[in-house]
């Protein structure tokens, strides 16, 4: 079922000569895990903000076309309604905190949407288990490490149980370990709730194995939109546009280019290891024979 539709959607920020998003047509199905990639200035954040109503609500500019979320144009939603359906996590965890302790931060959204105390308590327990933030509950969020902060931001949005999660570069300020933990939370959410997740990311190692679909934006337009393996078959285009493929994929692409391997690209290190094992076994058999 299509839950988000961009229909000839364009957005031009005030006093900007060209549109940040230019006549985009996109349909997002329920339960999909979507990765949105592209260089800086491609329009990724604008696209994300357009889904949860921050655009045009909070920004001045010219909108053309439609953004339909759950069969209703974004602008037709009463204030606060859309945010219950679309959860948003921003890149700078520090900038998203609105409360004095981790616990206050996690419950803030739930209080806003009018949940009762028992409901809040139940969801809080679930989120703490999911994000492993229990020991930090009484700490001020701004005293946490970058990874912990982002897990708090993620937990605060998850607690509102939105049907769609939009994450705008959630790991851009994190070290590799924290990055892994954030993606683990997303993986668990996907398994438990089957939410629709839209992640904007530059770092593709963690994103690609989880994504059902990858969309590449460039200069405000959709340049590529496909499932991950097919997506990386367009390696020359990706390289031309400055997209850094995960090491495993880039390596196998080189092998395929050199004629040492053929077939589908592996997306994870495990898949690559299996494929390499097969390649070595084949090579050994060839040498023996």
């Amino acid at each position: 079922m299509a839950i988000i539709q961009f229909k000839d959607f364009s957005w031009t920020y005030l006093n900007q000569p060209k549109p940040a998003i230019n006549k985009i047509n996109l349909t997002i199905q329920e339960g999909q895990f979507i990765g949105i990639i592209g260089p800086n200035g491609a329009g990724k954040t604008t696209l994300a903000y357009s889904i949860n109503g921050l655009i045009p609500g909070q920004y001045h500019g010219v909108k053309e076309g439609e953004v339909v979320v759950f069969d209703k144009e974004v602008e037709d939603y009463p204030r606060g309604d859309l945010q219950q359906k679309i959860g948003m996590v921003f890149s700078d965890p520090e900038a998203q905190f609105t409360a004095m302790t981790v616990e206050d931060e996690l419950v803030f959204g739930m209080e806003n949407i009018g949940l009762s105390i028992p409901e809040i308590r139940e969801r809080l327990e679930w989120v703490l288990e999911l994000t492993d933030l229990g020991p930090l509950l009484n700490k001020p969020p701004y005293e946490l490490s970058g990874g912990q902060k982002q897990r708090v931001a993620l937990g605060a949005v998850l607690a509102m149980t939105p049907e769609v999660m939009v994450l705008d570069e959630p790991t851009s300020m994190l070290d590799p370990i924290s990055r892994t933990r954030v993606f683990k939370v997303l993986e668990k959410t996907k398994q438990e709730k089957n939410n629709t997740v839209i992640v904007i990311e530059h770092s593709l190692e963690k994103l690609v194995p989880m994504a059902d679909r990858l969309i590449m934006l460039y200069d405000g337009q959709v340049l590529l939109d496909d499932e991950p393996r097919a997506f990386f078959n367009n390696m020359p285009l990706l390289m031309e546009k400055g997209i850094q493929s995960p090491g495993v994929i880039a390596f196998f692409h080189q092998l395929i280019q050199g004629g040492y391997e053929h077939g589908l690209l592996p997306l994870t290190v495990d898949e690559a290891a299996e494929r390499l094992d097969l390649i070595f076994k084949r090579a050994l058999e060839t040498v023996k024979s």
Partner: protein, 282 residues
């Protein structure tokens, strides 16, 4: 240790058992006491009592050391403004002359009265800040059913103060890394070049407020409209209970205040005329 606005308090401290409202009530009411007391010895007793309360609450009393230079400079400024810069008063009694200017007994006494009035006020504030977290202030305000928006804006103000300081630190480090450093330069130079810090700080603040607004909207918060009318459950308050001890303390503070007013304005105690300093001079 529990972190507070001004430091740390041990987990075992008896102050941790007190409801945040009582602490805020203590601050608001007890800091008014010196305004009604003129006699320095009574304000001195109040000051010592607050220090004893701090010690009982197991606050690190070393924290008071940082206020000693402030207290000395404040005392000096008050004394100078009341005496040397206090004007000519032919009716007053001259104690001695400094640089040809008369120093009056009444002005010295008034300086002392004002100074000893301020000390317990500061001690009350230090006591509150040393035993409360930001969350306590919010809880105290919500306990008396202050509108959510008011408590929220207050919380934001508390938080943004820290954020601005942090941003200022970042801006200064960035400028130092690019060779701009006012260390060791004259005050005039520092003031003139302060704009170098203020412009990026201002730009950062604008960006922060935009991000902050986005975060609030993303969490479903609205100041106006239908979404603002949603009945909010106050989950944080479920962690706090207003026990009998809290009721007792609140009543005691209130009674103390009423007693003070009775003693001061009905029975005529704690005034300047009956103070030790006045009797001493006569």
């Amino acid at each position: 240790m529990n972190k507070t606005l001004l430091g740390y308090v041990p987990k075992e401290s008896p102050i941790n058992a007190i409801h945040p409202f009582v602490k805020l009530f203590f601050l608001l009411i007890v800091s008014l006491f010196p305004l009604f007391i003129q006699a320095p010895e009574w304000n001195g007793i109040l000051f010592v009592a607050i220090l004893l309360l701090m010690a009982y609450s197991r606050i690190n009393m070393g924290i008071m050391r940082i206020y000693v230079p402030v207290a000395i400079s404040m005392g000096t400024i008050i004394l100078i403004s009341y005496t040397i810069l206090g004007g000519i008063h032919p009716d007053y009694a001259i104690l001695f002359n400094v640089l040809g200017r008369p120093i009056y007994w009444e002005r010295v006494r008034d300086a002392l009265v004002v100074y000893i009035r301020i000390l317990p006020m500061i001690a009350t504030m230090v006591f509150f800040l040393s035993t409360s977290r930001e969350r306590d202030v919010i809880v105290a305000m919500r306990s008396i059913k202050a509108p959510f928006v008011v408590t929220y804006v207050f919380a934001m103000a508390l938080r943004s103060a820290g954020m601005v300081l942090e941003d200022f630190h970042i801006v200064r480090q960035a400028e130092q890394a690019r060779g701009f450093d006012t260390t060791g330069k004259s005050l005039v130079y520092k003031i003139r070049k302060y704009v170098m810090y203020m412009i990026p700080l201002f730009a950062l603040s604008l960006r922060r407020s935009e991000e902050f607004t986005n975060a609030l909207i993303a969490r479903g918060y609205a100041f106006t409209g239908e979404a603002a009318k949603v009945k909010r459950a106050d989950y944080v308050l479920t962690h706090y209970q207003f026990r009998n001890l809290d009721k007792l303390l609140t009543t005691a503070i209130l009674l103390l205040f009423v007693t003070l007013l009775v003693f001061r304005y009905i029975l005529g105690f704690m005034g300047l005329e009956s103070s030790l300093i006045h009797l001493l001079y006569q």
